[in-house]
Symmetry: C2
Subunit: 328 residues, 2 copies
Amino acid sequence: MQRLIEYIKMIKPKVDSYISKVLEGEPAKLYEAARHLPLKGGKRLRPALLILVARALGGEEEEAIPAAASVELLHNFTLVHDDIMDRDEMRRGVPTVHVLYGEPLAILAGDLLYAKAYEALLSTQKAPELVKKMTEYLTWAGVTVAEGQAMDMMFEERWDVSEDEYLEMIAKKTGALFGACGAIGALVAEKPEYAEKMREFGVILGKAFQIKDDILSLVGDEKVTGKPKYNDLREGKRTLLVIRALRSLPPEEAEELKRILSKEEKSLEELEKAASLIMKSKALDYALKVAEELENRAREILSEIEVVDKEAMDLINELLDFAVKREF
Amino acid sequence: MQRLIEYIKMIKPKVDSYISKVLEGEPAKLYEAARHLPLKGGKRLRPALLILVARALGGEEEEAIPAAASVELLHNFTLVHDDIMDRDEMRRGVPTVHVLYGEPLAILAGDLLYAKAYEALLSTQKAPELVKKMTEYLTWAGVTVAEGQAMDMMFEERWDVSEDEYLEMIAKKTGALFGACGAIGALVAEKPEYAEKMREFGVILGKAFQIKDDILSLVGDEKVTGKPKYNDLREGKRTLLVIRALRSLPPEEAEELKRILSKEEKSLEELEKAASLIMKSKALDYALKVAEELENRAREILSEIEVVDKEAMDLINELLDFAVKREF
């Protein structure tokens, strides 16, 4: 994955400088709040995917930059609002926007990031019918991510969430934006005939990515991930790990896990107990297996593409590796 | 204004049924929360303006409906988030979305309304270059409204807000979306050459509308307006009325007004005292005069338009009347 990491290092300043440019304005404090998260790190996987799809299908890196900035802005908009909804205080190793600027301005900063995602996308120098199609995909992602976040939130009140429901939820919450990256990348390359296929690819990649994210919340090193460990457990999220553990643990232990997840406030000891129950259930191996199956399906889709730039396609394959094997 | 009110009564079901259509989806609770405000009344002035501009310039009412639904959705998105930020509990005579559905789902419902505003606009059956331009105006409005709301919020911490600053703030907070209605209406009529002029008209109309809104918050009948009386005073807003009163009252009374506006909690007696100080200062007459000047400038712009549908243009003139003379 070294080449991918180096490639992202190379494109990051280009994407970030475009983001900086669209996030200039008045009043200063609003724009400061809006810039806080997007310019505070982040992996830039979504911009990378969009740019690499564009390149693989024959487009130029440069012409994909505004759209790449757009999907990163949309992603950051959802994070800013998500952190308010979940009352999360840290992200990317720094305090969240609402902690620093108060909730009202954080809501507005999120709204501004969303509007700016469209502004960036609309500045793409392509034929109007292509830009219009890009805007349709961005809109589809915006609608679908909101639906997925609402599902995620409503699952917290239910114990009978099925694996299929979970997979539908992450396809929306995380998959949709990766899907839009794939589709918009194809449109930047002026290959609208590939938009739907690359959207499908992106959704599957996004699902694998989210399952790995859930795993890292359980076993990751918070110094490496930048997110507080056990965050999902603390919020009582119904991840694939929890769903699987509840199904495979002996009834008494499943009840113990439910009891901890239901508590308003959870001690570190309780979180560790919950984590050890999940580990014992082998849900971790199961979740990794599901992620790998998704990875394989995604790789199949890639093999059906007529590739123009082979190097870019290699990097997309590395990105797929990274989604499942990363430690951050 | 009777003809205008009848015209709006006629188009409202068309716009609302389009809004209902785009607000169908899962999860049900999210869509229920999103539908709450837009289908709970509202004057539909923005859709009316957009449709009438389209008609006046030679477009058809029917083809303007998706765009009209779009601007109303954007408006409702800003209201849902605004009510959270201001902690307002009532609007249009019913509890606000966050009161009914909780804050997290209300934030998401607002986000969904914004995404759906794009979805509706993008369904307009016009050439891609026209639809792309419409999307640019909607985006400009989204960015500008957020800037205006942030200004409004930040003004609450300052006593030296000038009239010019106030006028800039309302041009953004309220004018921008009316401006987008004017511009998008021109584009629906396939008259892009009029888009900028109709945007300018809309911004001025929106400013007059907002000044009248501020006035109604002071002297309106809450049974007619649907909003709690003295809401602006309660939130310590720097309206034109307050700015003018602070400048023209004798120092002691100006201090008294500041003292009341600064209080975290204000009794009804204090609110009435503040209102009586503003009335005494003649700020009300002054604000009405400013609104009328804006009305006159807006009417001048209208006189420069080559009108195709005279009846529609008469109704736009009535809309301008209504903005300044309405009681709700």
